[in-house]
Symmetry: C2
Subunit: 425 residues, 2 copies
């Protein structure tokens, strides 16, 4: 593997100076640059596919699992789908320049806030090369420069994608330095990035829990905390059985490998005797393993074709990212709330209930990025929530919470239009 | 001085558990608690004034300057004025519970954001005891618990104020643990606070540049960066002379000791010959010292009753907090922008101009919390901008920028109201 010595200060300075130009680009220029990226992804695939073939070969030699190899793989079809995503970003409204809270004060001053980009976004992510295109296009549209550090498995693919992106945006008159790539697979560079607060205004980690914890611990600049979703659904005594079954099934089975998938169902004891056997039957068809507390276990019992096992203490508060569901019987809303407060990760929590006051208390009292009544936890997503796209899901309360789209990649400045006003008191 | 051993973990846990109750308090309960504080400040002054007398005596013995002693002093009149401020906070709209960006999606899901408090606010501040009342009341209104660490000079005054506040809010049914006070004057406790990210969600430093730098360097939780204002006014060639004189005078003289006061005036060479002598005459009346670059010096010249001296390199980018103004002649808007980019602190920057395109470029290109056309830099203030009050002025782009009022002390959660929806794709 070819390694270049990385001059992070040089990369940082280039990104910083490009960010100043980017902040003032007109939407039509940014959109043309995005269209150029989309066209390049459709028409100039050879280089990218060749580079990806190298990564795939190295991955096979290194014994990567089939699942990881599949995440790494690029195909003409996947590149076309990436091009569609880039065009979708181009079609979103530009957050930069939006004015809000604009007022005319009694003294005639016009005061308001105007949205501006954050500056330079750093991203550290793992194997999937499509993240390179995703983050670069969302940063570009929101007027931010970016510094990308992808996983070593996808090194050649990422290098080829970045070179394609830089050429494409340069043709639209956007400085190619707006998209910076760390040309190294060394792990030590990650720590260096986390210390480069002079050059990086916001750091986005995308990957497993280990990466996210490492970033939270070592980042000297603001960093998105999130991506870890220990999601609960509380099936209240007044739940509509049919809705509860549909939601629990969807939240667990539709895409179990993502952070908004369901990890634990809490069932009120008054409905557990009817609900749990039906839930077990439904989930068994999809091969879901149930890890049950004593009461749930005694209700569900051993079951043909289904894996039903006693839960261990580790199963509470665990993000399974697999077809596994923890199951617990509770005697009250309060017990469910206490369990969620203790074990939830502040991502998404849902209640299934037909009782108005219970629903309102759950919405009020649960402290999470997203709280839901009678809906699948799988809806916590920038696209689903109407943001158009997302760079990350934040579980922090600072700056942005939940799905982060284009607007969440911006700040604002106060703008004051006067006609000679001075302050009296 | 009586010292208690400080159990920061105990204080932190108490604040955290009070914050959960506070987050769900109704506005009328919070407003009643604020009214109780106001009444106590008016009617039960003896304890506070006695405690303040001890601080004043200790301050005199320690040789504090008259200015510092004046900031420390509480009088019946000052307490009444504090009571008025608390009532003003009570009269502001409650940010908590506000719903925004609420939409009904095509699948019938109602999705929106609901404002919630941040949790626990830590505040580290210096001598003025009124900050104790200020921050406690803004935190209370915004549903946040707070942990206060005031300056050692005001230790007895702060202790008495906090005990008055806690009694007053308890009578309204608000847990007194919502307002925590660090009962120690040890400096080491500041570092301990900065490491207590488990208990403190946002840290607000209020004080001099040293304190703010120390916090920025050591805080492990989000901290407000700000309060340092190196503010410029650029007098463009097309400036209206009368407006320029009025604004520069007001921005420098009206209250020189605060962060939004003017530090440096940049004057276009085409207008400098007319503008600078008049400016010098006007500012001399208020005893302003001018520190001039060579060209400005040669225009202004020696002047009766005025201190006009050559600027040293240190004078550019300096926050004077005094009746001192740096003066420089520039040949273009570009030169002014470059000077501001290099020396500004990202607080407040103003242009005085009658030229439309120049005004628009200045607004666009200057990267600061507040940018102004034809208005005094002194307007950057929560009260002036219509936020009602402020806890701090942030120069960071993250979370909040510029004056931080009640809304800036909140986060939000996503609320989803469904009727059994599940996700398809």
């Amino acid at each position: 593997m070819v390694e270049t010595t990385v001059d992070l200060a040089f990369i940082g300075r280039s990104a910083r100076s490009a960010s100043r130009i980017l902040a003032r680009l007109r939407s039509d220029v940014k959109n043309r640059a995005l269209e150029n990226i989309a066209q390049a992804l459709e028409r100039r695939q050879e280089q990218v596919l060749e580079a990806n073939a190298k990564d795939m070969e190295a991955g096979r030699r290194a014994g990567l699992s089939e699942a990881l190899l599949d995440r790494l793989l690029l195909t003409p079809q996947r590149l076309r789908s990436l091009a569609r995503d880039v065009r979708a970003v181009a079609s979103l409204p530009d957050p930069v320049g939006e004015m809000f809270d604009v007022r005319t004060l009694p003294n005639g001053l016009v005061v308001g806030r105007k949205r501006v980009p954050l500056g330079v976004i750093g991203a550290i992510y793992e194997s999937r090369p499509n993240v390179t295109v995703d983050i670069a296009s969302l940063c570009l549209k929101s007027g931010n420069a970016c510094i990308l550090r992808g996983g070593s498995e996808a090194f050649h693919s990422n290098t080829a994608l970045v070179s394609l992106i830089r050429e494409a945006i340069a043709q639209a008159g956007v400085p190619p330095e707006a998209v910076q790539f760390i040309p190294s697979t060394e792990r030590s560079i990650v720590l260096q990035m986390l210390q480069a607060k002079e050059y990086i205004d916001l750091l986005i980690p995308r990957g497993g829990a280990d990466l996210i914890r490492f970033v939270a611990q070592h980042a000297t600049m603001p960093a998105v905390t999130g991506g870890i979703g220990v999601c609960h659904a509380y099936v209240d005594r007044s739940a509509d059985m049919e809705k509860a079954l549909r939601i629990v099934h969807n939240a667990k089975v539709q895409r179990p490998s993502v952070c908004n998938a369901l990890d634990c169902v809490l069932v009120h004891s008054a409905i557990a005797g009817r609900f749990l056997p039906e839930m077990a039957r439904l989930l068994a068809r999809d091969g879901v393993e149930l890890r049950c507390d004593t009461r749930a276990l005694s209700i569900i019992g051993p079951r043909e074709g289904a894996r039903v096992v006693p839960a261990t203490p580790d199963d509470w508060g665990k993000e399974f990212l697999a077809l596994i569901l923890a199951v617990k019987v509770v005697d009250s809303l309060e017990e469910a709330l206490a369990h969620i407060e203790r074990y939830g990760s502040g991502h998404t929590e849902a209640i299934i209930t037909e009782d108005y006051s219970t629903a309102m208390r759950f919405l009020d009292e649960v402290d999470a990025a997203a709280v839901m009544v009678n809906a699948s936890t799988r809806f916590t997503d920038g696209g689903q929530f109407g943001l158009g796209a997302e760079v990350a899901i934040s579980t922090s309360k600072f700056h942005a919470r939940g799905p982060m789209g284009l607007r969440e990649l911006t700040s604002y400045k106060w703008v004051v239009l006067g006609s000679g006003q001075v302050r009296e008191g």
